[in-house]
Symmetry: C2
Subunit: 153 residues, 2 copies
């Protein structure tokens, strides 16, 4: 998996959170996931299927960051992850993968996306069952961390 | 979503766990997920993409059941969910969706499957972001509960 493939996901998350969530994230260097654990409290997961390949994407947020985005995006102050926060993370997941798909399509990478799933639970981790590598991109912000994990066979 | 579509997933999970995991599950009546929360400690998630539809599948286990299957399937007694248990749930997810796909293909339903993802974390819940219904099928056993959730647009 090369940078050309990963960058659209990074750009897409940064754009979506800046424009919709009024939150600036800073992307750290992408790493191959191997003895790196990304833990979070709410994640959007989406399966991807292309003519020649298949993969998976997860976007994980710490609770503090998810609740801050909720406040900035929808003006609602929450103390816990509830149905509305779940829907917001679903919407963000859709927008990020949709944005990346559009960008990648221009570069000749074609894939379809499955229905997103949202996982809620304190300190959960995600493993991608795969033949290739999993790339993890950590993001920092004023309100907590986020992670993108991408895996393509 | 009709019974013809759901049954192959139920049969496939029962078969895989009986043959590979030497564990007998009892399927309860499928329900439309609505104010029903299925909580578990380890889940296999898989995205599905067909020519006319897309969807998602999750298989969630209570920790006690996952560890019991680990013991019966691989002869290893674990006290916690670790990398090997995660791989086992990944394998089960692959086998269940592969079995269901084969059965559904015979009935004329075609779809491709994305890479499975495994979520680990005590008491997590899963939400499927969708336009249609989410069907939830609870399973009971001598060692704890499992749930299948299926959603197709």
């Amino acid at each position: 998996m090369n940078v050309e493939f990963i960058n659209p996901f990074i750009t897409s998350l940064l754009n979506v959170l800046e424009m919709m969530g009024h939150t600036e994230l800073t992307a750290e260097k992408p790493k191959i996931k191997k003895n790196v654990v990304s833990m979070g409290d709410i994640s959007g997961l989406i399966g991807m299927v292309g003519p020649k390949t298949k993969g998976s994407l997860s976007i994980t947020f710490e609770k503090s960051l998810a609740l801050r985005i909720m406040l900035r995006m929808l003006g609602e102050r929450k103390n816990e992850i509830d149905e509305e926060v779940i829907d917001m993370v679903g919407e963000i997941t859709n927008m990020v993968s949709g944005g990346a798909k559009k960008e990648l399509s221009i570069k000749g990478y074609e894939f379809d996306m499955a229905t997103p799933m949202i996982v809620s639970g304190a300190n959960h981790t995600i493993d991608h069952i795969h033949d290739g590598h999993v790339i993890i991109i950590p993001f920092s912000s004023d309100s907590g961390q986020a992670f993108i994990e991408i895996c393509f066979d």
